[in-house]
């Protein structure tokens, strides 16, 4: 089995690694996601992911940052086999293959960027029940899970509401509930705070803070990264270019500049 610290040696350029990032902050964690040499090309030949190695330990809170088109969303789609490129994906010790897609999809809860894509049913209840129903659970258990998932995201009593009548903040919360109802061990979120007003964003951060699951969050919101996620992975042009504690990555202005990122606070970068 791979050691949990292995991902540190996979870094393509040692010079890019912020110093000192070999703190054993996650050495004792059991790995829940292991990506080994993931490469992916879109049908038009564009390379989206280029030999990505990443190990995420149990209950780690990891940020996935990088410019638009860096491959963040594509990487998330590999975690539960929606996209299958070259390389090996291992989730909770099981190598992803045709035989265990169902199992892996119940372990990795993927929340899409646009809640209008995630909430495709007529009512909130049906949307949250979709995952549990397709896990072949009994109706009573499905009902119980819907109620508890909605209360986890603070949306109790929204069961009969229609998705198109909800605000964006409400939709984002319910989108998270749709995967919480499947009781996944890992949550992979794509831009959870995007386009939210400050109050909804604050509420969402509070919600994410309270979740016990392993978190992998692809985002441009560096303040959210700073506040919520202890480890940061920078992806640029399909490659992992930095991986380390968030405090160190965010303090390395040169590194952030190089990959078109901004620190959450402090003076504006030069134009």
């Amino acid at each position: 089995m791979a050691r949990a610290t292995d991902h540190l040696v996979y870094l393509p350029e040692l010079t890019e690694r912020p110093q000192p990032s070999s703190k054993p902050m996650r050495s004792e964690r059991r790995p829940v996601i292991e990506l080994a040499g993931i490469s992916f090309r879109y049908p038009d030949g564009r390379k989206a992911l280029d030999n990505v190695h990443l190990v995420i330990g149990e209950q780690e809170k990891v940020a996935l940052v990088g410019p638009n088109g860096a491959g963040k969303s594509t990487l998330l789609l590999h975690l539960n086999g929606i996209l299958r490129g070259e390389g090996k994906v291992t989730v909770m010790g099981n190598e992803l293959g045709d035989g265990n897609l169902g199992l892996v999809r119940s372990q990795v809860g993927l929340v899409f960027q646009n809640p209008d894509d995630q909430l495709f049913s007529t009512t909130v209840f049906e949307d949250v029940a979709f995952g549990p129903l397709h896990m072949n659970l009994a109706d009573d258990e499905v009902r119980r899970r819907v109620i508890s998932a909605l209360s986890e995201v603070g949306m109790e009593g929204f069961e009969d509401r229609l998705s198109h009548h909800l605000s964006l903040g409400e939709k984002k919360r319910i989108a998270i509930a749709t995967v919480l109802a499947m009781q996944p061990a890992i949550l992979a979120l794509d831009e959870p705070s995007g386009e939210l007003d400050p109050r909804s964003r604050r509420g969402l951060i509070r919600l994410l803070k309270a979740l016990p699951q392993t978190l992998l969050v692809a985002t441009h919101d560096m303040r959210l990264v700073d506040e919520l996620l202890l480890r940061t992975v920078i992806l640029d042009a399909g490659q992992v270019v930095a991986d380390g504690p968030t405090t160190e990555i965010l303090a390395d202005r040169a590194l952030l500049d190089r990959h078109g990122l901004e620190p959450p606070f402090g003076p504006r970068p030069h134009p």
């Binding site: 999809r105 899409f112 129903l133 397709h134 198109h164 499947m182």
Partner: protein, 269 residues
Amino acid sequence: MKVSPIQVLDHYQEGDSLIHRLDPRVKLVLTLALIVVIAALPRGAWLVYLACLLMICLVMGMSRLQPMLVLRRSLVAMPFALAALSLVFTVPGSALASFTLARWSLSVTVEGTVAFMSILAKSWLSVLSATILVATTPFSHLVASMRAFRVPEVLVSVVSFMYRYMYVIADEALRLHRARDARSAAPGSKAGGSLRWRGKVLGGMIGSLFLRSYERSERIYAAMLSRGFDGSIRAMKMEPLRRNDLGTVVAFLACLLALVALVAFQRGP
């Protein structure tokens, strides 16, 4: 502010009446039965139409919907009934009035007018009953009822997705429309550009709307796969029918039979 007309389509009216509480399967089947009976009624059976209207009004009263609201909505589909207007001229019979239009001479016949008025009345009664059904039944319950009656899953899914994304696509169309309006300001002239230009932009808008919807469908499919979708939609079982649901079925079917008997009685002598 311009609101997309589609918003008007959200028909369910919250309420707690006898009709609201009725099982959606019962409502769906009885409404369909009523519409079939209405469609089969003979031309010019005005008394039977009136009896039908009274029956529908009774249900509307029990549902505590606002009559004006139901009336307004029921008129939405009426322009389609105008397609039957040609009957006024084409059904042979005794002429009521004739006039010449260029080289043709047209005559309005009594039989034709009766046929047209009957179609108008029958389609209005049908739309009226459908209006009450959708105003008292949440759409998701209608979809669930269709599933319970084993309507093919593809059809049910299409209906359900259409209902969900109609609003999203209408919003997108509205945004495109606004973007066009915002860029079609020529100082000193009427806003909107030439017809040719607008036509060109409209073509682009339709294409863009199609591409966006197509891409969205792929993202939705990925979201479905992520939650374990394997090609078959699963739904929860509906609650069993209650005794008063069955009572309603019997009472309603008795009324329908009475309608049919009324037709027979009218034709009898």
